[in-house]
Amino acid sequence: MTDVTADRSAVAPEPETVEEGPGISTAGRTRGQARRANQLIAWAFLAPFMLAFFLFVIWPLAHGIYLSMTDQSLTGAGGSFIGLENYAEALSDPVVWTSIRNTVWFTVISTIPLVLFALVMALLVNTGLPGQWLWRLSFFMPFLLASTVISQIWMWIFNPEIGVANEILTTFGFEPIAWLQTEHIDLISITIATVWWTVGFNFLLYLAALQNIPEHQYEAAAVDGAGRWRQLFSITLPQLGPVTVVVLVLQALASLKLFDQAYQMMNGGSSDTSRPIVQYIFEAGFVGYRFGYASAISYIFFALIVIVGIFQMTVLSRRKGN
């Protein structure tokens, strides 16, 4: 989120460069006046966005902080100020911690395969396999499906009695597994479904980056006697660095938001090893009616995301420095 807003605000100074350009008359006005006028115009253009930004980001953010310090109920009852009680309760609520742990764990075990598989798939497709369009389509297709569809498909695949997954396991002589109903395995099952679902997007980013690497670099390397593997490690992978950073950032943020597929695949009920924090916020606020408490948990989660964000920014700026 922070990246996007930073980009947009970077647009603001642009009118200044237009001001200097030909075709815009500054005759009869001092430089300062023109600048002010242009700034006004810039603000006017920004106003609709600022309004929406204030209404849908700043105001809910501020109001949420207030709510988190009340015992506000979804039913309209409550609303009296109770200070930091909700935070104290949340910090001592074991479910908050287990669900944060689940979310972080999911982020780790989903981000790694989502980057690696995407990279391998893109490299394979980029080798010039015949039927390029078919590969691209097949890898990207699941990403186009709604989370509800994905959940339904995978709930049947993972069905412990008649699912395909167990059919394969038993064919090879393994014991069947209750994929979505066994603690600790449930989150891994959700991860498998998520990887299948979203890997196509990262694949596409990688493929685009691969196709941007100039062909002549490979030719030059070939002339110097570099084989395919040497080319991969010395030309391809280093040049994929920037896109890998983008993929990692996007993926980590997307994984932290885990909710829909987990909620749907677990039929709305979750075990202690699969409930993501967003679902616990939903359960506390919308099923348990405790808006104040749910707000407090979401700010604790928000703090976590800020920490991840700062960490990422530090890593990124260090890379840029290098």
Binding site: G76, P160, E161, A178, Y289
Partner: protein, 442 residues
């Protein structure tokens, strides 16, 4: 470039025109065709139930020129109760809504529901005498009537008459035997399993707190006991009974009697495919099984622990709280409910037991098979323990599933589960009802 821009504008203008035309058409279709007062009615009945309900609404709408019931169908479970609570909290709720009777006690303290006027109902032929005792009692909160039950939908045993006959577990009337102790019941299921070569019983429970609770609490109450959760008196339940029921449930899921890891979908598919003889399920699966061509019988779950007790809930009509109710619309809502109750024979077709006694006593109802076989269940119904946090689609049933789920699968840890359950309920009771944090109404 220019040409492209023009064509794009044209497309946009066209789309805008079409959209506004459609919007206008929508207006005339909704309001222009008849001059009737619109009564908003929310319910959560989808699938076969939804179609039956729509049929009943259409019949009543056709019979009345002065009002028009406009139903809004929302998804079953937690999302429905979220929306209904928010509508009630805003004071601009629909005139009428359907709720599970078990959720009503959680709604009343927050002032989300308005009570029914007994006199007006009596004028329309609806009063205490037209409901079975447990159903009428469950409709009351603090001595006022907050819900009018349409049905009771118990958790029962469907059985495949052909398979069960082959297994020799039908009585001389062709009905499933009703063993009155756990061993006989388990033995009966094994005999059925011998016939199917698969499982004797289909019961889906895996990671499904709702399904586990439905069977568990019915069996718990068969001991002649009920749980009670109260903010003043604390948690009251018998841990020995709790453990005995869990132990029995884990004996069911042994891979022979029922699947070790049966999910609700699997159990439905298995019984529909005639690969088992008995199906523990809600009556609402009846139409599905009939369509699947299963030769069907149905009975209350046998009194395995001695006494008859049937876990059930009711679809009940409630008046969501309105800041400024329109008397005329409210009155139409009363009329609609009364007429729907007296037409609820069709509702029984979907498997539910009509709550309205005159329908049960109707000779046409006695001819409904297999519905009439379990009509008696209405007298043995047990609902969820009364508390603000219990009921269909609540966090409570999910939490219950998380606490006991592993014990049913693994066959161990029952005592610990009972202890965890007690502690969990105590934790909830320590907190105020979020719908009424100041406890103004308790």
């Amino acid at each position: 470039m220019d040409r492209m821009q023009i064509s794009r504008r044209q497309v946009l203008a066209g789309a805008l025109g079409a959209a506004s035309a459609m919007a206008l058409a929508g207006c005339t279709a909704g309001g222009g065709t008849r001059e009737a007062a619109t009564v908003q009615f929310w319910h959560l009945l989808s699938g076969g139930d939804g179609i039956t309900m729509q049929g009943l609404i259409d019949t009543i709408n056709d019979a009345h020129q002065d009002f028009f019931i406009r139903p809004t169908v929302l998804a079953w479970g937690a999302p429905y109760y979220t929306k209904l609570a928010m509508a009630g909290a805003g004071g601009r709720a629909p005139e009428l809504a359907v709720m599970h009777a078990s959720r009503v006690p959680g709604y009343v303290p927050g002032g989300l529901l308005d009570p029914w006027d007994l006199n007006r109902l009596a004028e329309l032929g609806v009063d205490e005498s037209t409901f079975s005792e447990p159903i009428w009692e469950a409709s009351q909160v603090d001595g006022e009537l907050y819900s009018v039950a349409l049905d009771a939908h118990p958790f029962i045993a469907l059985y495949n008459t052909e398979i069960c006959e082959e297994a020799g577990v039908l009585d001389s009337d062709g009905r499933l035997l009703r063993p009155d102790n756990p061993d006989d019941f388990l033995q009966m299921c094994r005999e059925i399993a011998g016939v199917t070569g698969n499982h004797g019983l289909s019961y889906g429970f895996l990671a499904d707190g709702t399904q586990m609770w439905r069977l568990f609490y019915g069996l718990y109450c068969q001991h002649g006991e009920q749980m009670s959760f109260s903010q003043t008196d604390g948690v009251d339940f018998n841990e020995d009974t709790f453990v005995a029921v869990l132990e029995f449930m884990s004996q069911l899921a042994d891979g022979e009697i029922a699947a070790r890891q049966g999910t609700i979908d699997f159990a439905i598919a298995e019984f529909a495919a005639q690969e088992s003889g008995i199906h523990f399920t809600g009556v609402w699966e009846l139409p599905t099984m009939r369509e699947a061509g299963v030769p069907l019988g149905a009975t209350m779950i046998p009194p395995i622990f001695g006494q008859e007790a049937v876990y059930a809930d009711s679809h009940s009509f409630v008046l969501p709280h309105q800041m400024d109710p329109d008397d005329e619309l409210r009155d139409y809502a009363y009329t609609f409910v009364a007429e729907l109750l007296s037409n609820s024979l069709d509702w029984a077709g979907a498997g539910h037991i009509p709550a309205y006694q005159p329908i049960i006593e109707d000779p046409d109802y006695a001819e409904l098979s297999p519905q009439a076989e379990y009509a008696e269940a209405a007298d043995h119904i047990v609902y969820d323990p009364v508390a603000w946090f219990t009921g269909s689609g609540s966090n409570f049933v999910q939490d219950f599933g998380n606490i006991v789920g592993n014990t049913v699968v693994s066959g161990s840890g029952f005592d610990e589960a009972a202890e965890n359950f007690r502690r969990h309920i105590e934790d909830i009771l320590e907190r105020p009802n979020p719908a009424d944090p100041e406890e103004t109404q308790i």
